[in-house]
């Protein structure tokens, strides 16, 4: 049995169904990300794991027991809240000690835990301050310290970085990852930020409308998104969706691509897989980096640059293919200015296809 298993969990308020049958199972020590747009049910699921809300049906297993009827405090979990939820009238030391105190940990042991945690998070100098006297980053640190003091079998992080500024967010993200490497405790982490999801997670559950759209490793989700929602939600800039018509030419199955200045038939890598769909409309999903400058004489499409967006390491090129706005990520050295034509090649081994009706990926 893994560290956490969620079995067919649903949550409804009357006719409003927040969660519609969630199944997730992760192993000991894994870092699980629940990601999705606001209102997708990820925070509700987190609260159900914590025991702050109870599921309408289904089971939650933590460790080797079913915890549906176990009070939050007895689930052996610790949680870091979005607003940090530090007790404002207590100083940092008292904040960390509170959970130990209610559990009847002796004073001397409390001191040891506080010192250990303070050292681990480098906040010795903050122990006697009140939360109001701390910066956002320091509060975040204290909130994590409070969770660490408990040494639980499961950590829950509820959008812990969303109140920090961009720079601090990146720093704390790295810090959380290091912490996980060191502690090897199972973590469930809720976020709406796909970059946090990709960088931190061992396993990602992408959610929308109370349903898990895809559950898998970050790379898997990035490369083989199960539907168009996942494909567009994960990755920045978003995946390009190019509507095209599957056809057969000279015994090869492929798609016709038209730009403002060029048109070309591009054969698929394993065309045979798509034999049944010849003659149908499909949506081709192309990541911006899969549309790169053609250096050799490979199959390439001349595209007129509409706009460029230099980001430093890469330059984003905006153009049109099959009447859709498309973004390409190229090396700054290769980028041309607006109005000029660039020869762009598709990485046909990596592009994915979706059914325009069901929005599901075609295998």
């Amino acid at each position: 049995m893994g560290a956490l298993a969620i079995k067919n969990v649903t949550k409804s308020f009357g006719d409003t169904h927040i969660l519609k049958g969630i199944d997730i199972e992760i192993d000991d020590g894994q870092f699980l990300i629940l990601v999705g747009p606001s209102g997708c049910g990820k925070s509700t699921l987190m609260n159900i794991i914590a025991g702050l809300e109870s599921p309408t049906s289904g089971e939650v297993h933590i460790g080797d027991r079913i915890v549906n009827d176990v009070a939050p405090k007895d689930r052996d979990i610790a949680m870091v809240f979005q607003s940090y939820a530090l007790y404002p009238t207590m100083n940092v030391r008292q904040n960390i000690a509170f959970g130990l105190e209610t559990r009847g940990v002796p004073k001397k042991e409390q001191e040891e835990v506080i010192n250990r945690v303070a050292k681990m998070l480098q906040m010795d100098h903050l122990l006697d301050r009140k939360p109001g006297q701390l910066s956002g980053g320091q509060r975040q640190r204290v909130a994590m310290g409070r969770a660490l003091a408990r040494d639980p079998i499961l950590f829950l992080f509820d959008e812990p970085l969303s109140n920090l500024d961009a720079k601090l967010r990146v720093e704390m993200r790295t810090e959380i990852k290091q912490l996980h490497h060191r502690l090897k405790t199972t973590i469930v982490y809720v976020t709406h930020d796909q970059i946090e999801a990709m960088t931190l997670g061992d396993r990602i559950a992408v959610m929308k409308d109370g349903v898990i759209q895809q559950f898998g490793s970050p790379q898997d989700i990035y490369e083989r998104p199960s539907n168009m929602f996942v494909a567009s939600f994960i990755g920045s800039p978003s995946m390009n969706f190019i509507e095209c018509h599957l056809a057969e030419q000279n015994g090869q199955i492929g798609v016709s691509l038209t730009s403002e200045s060029d048109a070309r038939f591009v054969p698929l890598k394993d065309g045979a897989k798509f034999a049944k769909r010849v003659g149908q409309e499909v949506v081709m999903g192309v990541r911006p980096e899969q549309l790169d400058v053609a250096h050799g004489d490979e199959m390439a499409l001349g595209c007129k640059v509409m706009l460029t967006e230099p980001t430093g390491p890469d330059t984003m090129i905006f153009t049109r293919i099959n009447g859709k706005d498309v973004t390409a990520r190229v090396h700054p050295r290769d980028a041309k200015g607006p109005g000029e034509v660039m020869r762009l090649a598709l990485d046909m081994g990596k592009v994915v296809f979706f059914d325009p009706k069901t929005q599901l990926r075609i295998d």
Binding site: N47, A50, L52, P72, K73, I77, A78, M79, F81, Q82, S83, A85, Y87, P88, T89, M90, F98, G99, T102, R103, R146
Partner: protein, 284 residues
Amino acid sequence: MQSNKLSRFIVYAVLIYFAVYYLLPLYVMLTTSVKTMDEIRGGNLLSFPMHITFAAWSKAWGSACTGVECTGLAPFFWNSVRMVIPAVAISTTLGAINGYILSKWKFPGSELVFALLMYGLYIPFQVLLLPMATTEGWLGIASSTTGLVFVHVVCGIASTTLFFRNFYVGIPDELINAARLDGAGFWRIFWRIVLPMSIPILMVTLIWQFTQIWNDFLFGLVFSAGGSQPITVGLNNLANTSTTVKEYNVDMAAAIIAALPTIFVYVAAGKYFVRGLAAGAVKG
């Protein structure tokens, strides 16, 4: 520039006018209370006293007649103190607990309970007099200080609950959840987390309840008898007991004595009062 100065002048003029308007009665009370009857009879209402004497004050406190007895306000004052302390403490405590439950431990129907409680704010107290008198009779606490405390607690709960509930709505639920995960229960969260955060609203409620209960005349008149009458009733009796002459200086001194505790409470806790009201307004 010129019009700016003019508008400033008008603003100040209006403000000063109203300040004087409200301070004048206090001035008259204070000066009259330290004048002798001769001076009051002979002089101007607004004139400053020529010889300051506290004779009227000591008479009002210790020997003025309030009906047949001539004991001054002192016994009434202590009656009020004996009534106001438990009444304020109990109604505030219940309000805090009610507010805590109605905002952080909602149960099915808790919104309805809150809505019904709020009716208490709109019920004119006069309609309560007869049923309350009957109830007190059943309980065997009629015409006693305990009975008065009971009435004030019952009638105060609506407003104290409203104050605390609106304040606690502004406390993030995450804080309560964090404490629950930390292993704290209902009472521990209340004592250790919520109550220490409640100082501003506690002050607001204390001042409010103290003022209401101390200044109450209606319940004091109806629900108390000789030995338990509060100071408002004492003041009324003192002012209405006519001997040969009306002693304005004694009346004024008595009125100020009756008002002093509320002034004291407001001055002592007033900065929290304003702060608490503002905090409640922004968060609630």
